[in-house]
Subunit: 215 residues, 2 copies
């Protein structure tokens, strides 16, 4: 249980994605009676090797006990600390379509450190509707909400044609990270992080693998 030596840079992106998977697995484990977990067991949930799990964790410190393994509760806190999700991050959603509605009602975000504090659209017919704890507001309110809650993260669910100009507006309002569901790439300043989520891409990858009959 040493403190994180690596503060940030040179952390492989694949490692971060795997840490999320480990955390999901650990979250499920706490509902069982199992208190300890081995790197081999964690490896199962990403289809990787035990050495890879240990490497991923070693990027941030020493959290296990030799001959024993890792304490489930401890490891959860360690990974949350790495992600910065031991506190809640306020998040806005822009584009009040069906996906937005599904996201607003999804319980998983709040449980894992992300509170949706506002949802926005331009369509007058959508304004005022309430999903989960959030009421759809006009996009012109977004700057005020971002400022009031010190929001740094946004989820973009607008149509592809509106994605770029909406992103620019969000960046101007202070947003530093965007989860982009639009099927358009975003041109943003280098200090703004974009994470693209392409639902079709997952199916395309699967159909490629089936097409090329790679067992």
């Amino acid at each position: 249980m040493t403190a994180p030596p690596a503060d940030n840079h040179n952390i492989p992106d694949p490692s971060i994605r795997r840490l999320s998977a480990y955390l999901r697995y650990l979250e499920n484990l706490v509902t069982t009676e199992q208190r300890r977990v081995s790197s081999r067991q964690l490896a199962g949930c990403v289809g990787g090797s035990d050495a890879q799990v240990r490497r991923d964790l070693a990027l941030f410190g020493q959290f296990g006990r030799r001959g024993v393994g890792y304490e489930v509760d401890d490891l959860i806190q360690v990974i949350r600390t790495i992600f910065g999700t031991r506190r809640q991050w306020p998040v806005v959603v822009v584009g009040a379509g069906l996906l937005c509605q599904a996201l607003l009602r999804y319980q998983g975000f709040k449980q894992r450190g992300f509170t949706l504090v506002g949802a926005f659209d331009t369509d007058p017919r959508k304004l005022g509707a309430r999903y989960g704890d959030v009421t759809i507001q006009h996009i012109d309110e977004v700057e005020a909400v971002i400022a009031r809650h010190h929001v740094r993260l946004a989820i973009l669910t607008v149509p592809a044609t509106a994605a770029q100009r909406t992103a620019e507006r969000l960046v101007r309002a202070g947003i530093e990270g965007i989860m982009n569901f639009a099927s358009a790439s975003l041109n943003v300043p280098a200090d703004v992080h974009v994470n693209r989520v392409d639902l079709t891409a997952s199916l395309e990858q699967l159909s490629f693998q089936l097409s090329s009959h790679r067992s």
Copy 2:
């Protein structure tokens, strides 16, 4: 325009993900008057280098003209051929929650080669509801639908606790590829492909990047 020399194996996964991004970009390009595209231009949409784009394509053949670039329409067909999405793939969705409803109404799948042919749940209150072109059916119908439409791909949107047993049932029914939205890892035979989509993971990655102030 040579035929693909590499049939399948040893294609890097990251390359496949990028091909999806190129395809999204090209799909948007056809609505403009631009008929040709360079590797440098394509590189923009994934934040990569021009050499990387050319490498990704070179894995499958030679599709450009030196000194000129790539024909937009040709390249779209090339990538669709790689993915096997010049024909429609039938897909079933299991778990009729909010996310399922959003997916059923999403137009993008069909446009890109994936037809949702059925949606299933166990909850009697959900049965019979219609979203998009699809009516929610009882899960006991899933085997018949899979057989009738020769379905090989499934989208799993059930709760984490039901994910494993549902996956096993789907595999038994002939499913070979699963897009898994449940926050649980799936244990399936090696010849079944699973693509996990973790919505929280994207936000976790972003908050990590902000926390570690990596510009």
